[in-house]
């Protein structure tokens, strides 16, 4: 019975994934999960509040010890004002720094001059709920639905992100 249960679960899993592969091309069937994490002040923050923003939202998982994450967010920082003007985008940088490096997050972002919304996910609750394996991992959320997901960062990936933002905002108009 136990084995049958696992078999069934595995089947359901495969089924679920394949059906997602089909639907994800149409975009946006998956909703943002509701998880209680913290903002940079240490206040409770429910992740559904991210979707309150009108227009596209970028969610980027990063950490102060992750070099490619910092390369990505520093690159976007130079483009961010333009992106905001053109597409109305907001960026949430979700730090997965744990207690060891959490105290560096706020000083780091201020020293870099980032103007993102910063969230702290120090025990990985939001990371888990979003299905993130490793950082950096970047999502775009539109009207509460996850419409874009990209793991890793290579220089130039920001252009693909920007193209997707333009596409989304063109659709909206």
């Amino acid at each position: 019975m136990r084995k049958a249960g696992i078999g069934f679960l595995a089947f359901a899993l495969v089924f679920a994934i394949t059906s997602f592969t089909f639907t994800s091309d149409e975009g946006g069937t998956k909703s943002l999960p509701s998880v209680d994490i913290q903002n940079v002040k240490g206040e409770a923050f429910n992740t559904l509040d991210i979707a309150n923003h009108e227009g596209p939202v970028i969610i980027s998982f990063w950490a102060t010890w992750c070099s490619p994450c910092k390369r990505e967010l520093n690159t976007i920082a130079e483009l961010y004002t333009d992106w905001q003007e053109e597409t109305g985008v907001e960026l949430y940088a979700v730090s997965i720094d744990d207690e060891r490096t959490k105290s560096r997050v706020e000083p780091y972002i201020n020293a870099q001059g980032w103007e993102y919304n910063i969230l702290l996910d120090s025990n990985f609750d939001f990371k888990r709920a979003m299905g993130v394996n490793n950082v950096p991992h970047t999502f775009i959320v539109m009207d509460g639905k996850i419409v874009y997901s990209h793991n890793n960062y290579a220089p130039g990936d920001e252009d693909a992100l920007y193209d997707k933002l333009l596409e989304l905002t063109a659709d909206a108009e």
Binding site: R2, G5, I6, F8, L9, F11, A12, L13, F15, A16, I17, S19, F20, T23, K30, P33, S34, D36, K41, G42, A44, T64, W65, C66, S67, R71, D98, E99, R100, T101, S103, R104, E106, P107, Y108, I109, N110, A111, Q112, G113, S122, N123, F124, R128, A129, M130, G131, V132, N133, N134, H137, Y148, S149, H150, N151, N152, A154, P155, G156, D157
Partner: protein, 564 residues
């Protein structure tokens, strides 16, 4: 369990059929495959199975206030360096939850942390095979503005054998309350100082099965915390006491333990400063008093030093928290030389200076011992932040980043890391303190819109020590190293890299080996496939101050990750 699986499976299947109105599924898959060869030069052995594979699938289902999730994991057999009792395929994590704005209830497995985690942190660090998930019940309440209460009761995951979760012997229970004072009290809404206070309590129960000692079956740990913010300043402090907890770690003594952590920070645009101080003594806290290494830990003691990322700096001499006691201090300054200045250039120039030092805690000999010693030995007394002269670690490092134009940047770094190998055992080849100087130059060049090149050059130099056997000065540990790495990326899909770690300074000439590793990766959306081929040296592999020893290997590793 059976019913649970069935419910979950049905829920998943039906949801997949009609997702739009039937809830939401997220999750991920990860699989790591290794094919290993014999390489006598670096003591790498081929396992009898030749090939190894670890696989995981997480699936989380939510619909309105209801949620359920599970992780299937599989070790056929486990990849190198994983705990040797992980085997088989089965459910390694499962839960059902219910959540509203007021209440959040979980039954089954969950991860949780109280305050800074120094008396309770349950989490997964898969790269290390570390997973101390709780198995029981958790309740979170938001009874009033700014107030959060959490409680849990359960056992702790210790292992995964024959496809089943094995929980550790003890029972763990805890409560935590936190108040954001300015939110709770209307009058303080506009008070310039932002105040958070909290208190945490954790208790473990384990039967006294020792016929020589009278062991406390219930051990409590408790503490308080405070967070203050004023303009660009913040100050966080936490203090915890653990009651007497004789264990194999502390040699079955009855001393209380303590853990204190203070972080002070200031930041404004272009400048960030953090000062940290930590004091711990006798703070190994496990749900099974007989366990060691990373097993059955209830708490997490964060190391107060910077997490390094460059290969030689991060992996050769990493610091691991000393559970029996340490006092550590850290200062970190990040300053960005402003844009459009002569030195800062067009983009500004970030400079990071970081210093950390960790010593032993003072354990003075005026505790309770003598006649009663077989039963309730308290061999020493201890005062928080009383720092002994025994130095475990220091790390001074500077990093400067300069972006020269749209296409080219360079980062230069220098590190001086000293580690006391008699206390923090990182190698069998060194005596006493290893003092290393490391230089790293990283450069990145963007060839065009999609193609980029990145290179790292690293060199590590260690001190010499007197060798009695030969009467000569020889290099500590394995001597000096040099590393070169070249990475080529084609956005958004491909990356290729080659790294050579050359142990050119090894005191034994035959061991002056090139460890060459090549990697190719393909990324499409949330899918990532990476193949790595080559030699990996043995060493401590650490994530967040928790370390695992990984033996040397030579062969192919393929990793597939998928999020959905």
């Amino acid at each position: 369990m059976k019913k649970f699986l069935l419910t979950l499976a049905v829920a998943c299947a039906t949801t997949a059929m009609a997702q739009n109105d039937m809830g939401n599924i997220t999750g991920n898959l990860e699989s790591t495959f290794q094919y290993l060869r014999n390489d006598p030069l670096i003591d790498a052995n081929q396992p009898p199975e030749k090939a190894l594979i670890n696989s995981y699938a997480n699936i989380f289902y939510t619909k309105g206030k209801f949620s359920a999730g599970a992780r299937v994991e599989s070790y056929l057999p486990r990849i190198q360096g994983y705990p040797d009792r992980f085997d088989g395929t089965g459910i390694g994590f499962r839960y059902i939850g219910y959540k509203t704005d007021f209440i959040d209830l979980t039954i089954g497995n969950f991860y949780e942390q109280f305050g800074s985690g120094m008396i309770f942190r349950s989490y997964e660090q898969r790269a290390l095979g570390y997973d101390n998930a709780m198995d029981g019940i958790r309740l979170k309440l938001n009874p009033y503005k700014g107030i959060r209460i959490k409680g849990f009761w359960g056992k702790q995951r210790l292992s995964f054998t024959d496809g089943r979760i094995i929980n550790s012997a003890g029972l763990v229970r805890g409560f935590d309350g936190e108040m954001h004072v300015n939110q709770t009290f209307e009058k303080l809404k506009d008070f310039p100082i932002d105040i958070m206070i909290g208190a945490q309590f954790v208790s473990k129960y384990q039967e006294d099965d020792n016929d020589q000692l009278i062991l406390p079956e219930n051990v409590g740990a408790y503490g308080g915390r405070i967070g203050l913010r004023y303009k660009g300043f913040y100050l966080n402090g936490e203090y915890n006491i653990k009651e007497n907890d004789p264990s194999s770690d502390n040699g079955y003594i009855y001393n209380n333990g303590h853990a204190a952590l203070i972080n002070f920070g200031y930041s404004r645009k272009g400048l960030g400063i953090v000062l940290s101080a930590k004091s711990t003594d006798n703070m190994s806290f496990r749900s099974d008093r007989t366990k060691d290494l990373q097993d059955a830990l209830i708490n997490f003691l964060p190391p107060t030093n910077k997490t390094h990322t460059y290969n030689l700096v991060a992996t050769l001499y990493p610091y691991a928290t000393q559970l029996l006691g340490e006092v550590g201090y850290q200062a970190d300054i990040i300053y960005t030389v402003p844009k459009k200045s002569k030195i800062g250039g067009k983009y500004g120039m970030p400079i990071n200076i970081n210093y950390s030092i960790i010593n032993g805690s003072v354990q003075s000999g005026d505790g309770v011992s003598g006649q009663d010693s077989t039963q309730r030995l308290r061999p020493y007394s201890n005062t928080p932040f009383a720092t002994s002269t025994s130095n475990y670690w220091h790390d001074f490092n500077v990093q400067i980043k300069r972006k020269f134009n749209k296409k080219f940047y360079a980062i230069g770094s220098y590190y001086n890391i000293l580690i006391n190998n008699d206390v923090i055992k990182v190698t069998d080849d060194a005596k006493g303190k290893i003092n290393s100087h490391i230089g790293v130059l990283e450069m990145g060049y963007k060839i065009n819109r999609k193609h980029s090149l990145r290179a790292e050059f690293q060199a590590l130099f260690v001190n010499d020590v007197y060798d009695k056997a030969t009467g000569q000065e020889v290099a500590q540990d394995k001597g000096n190293w040099a590393t070169a790495l070249i990475e080529y990326t084609i956005s958004p899909n491909w990356f290729v890299s080659v790294m050579d770690q050359y142990n050119y300074g090894n005191p034994t000439e035959a061991n002056r080996i090139h460890y060459i590793v090549g990697s190719v990766g393909y990324v499409k959306g949330a899918t990532r496939i990476m193949g790595t081929y080559g030699r990996q040296r043995a060493g401590l592999f650490c994530v967040g101050g928790v370390c695992r020893f990984v033996p040397a290997s030579n062969g192919l590793t393929v990793t597939l990750t998928q999020s959905f």
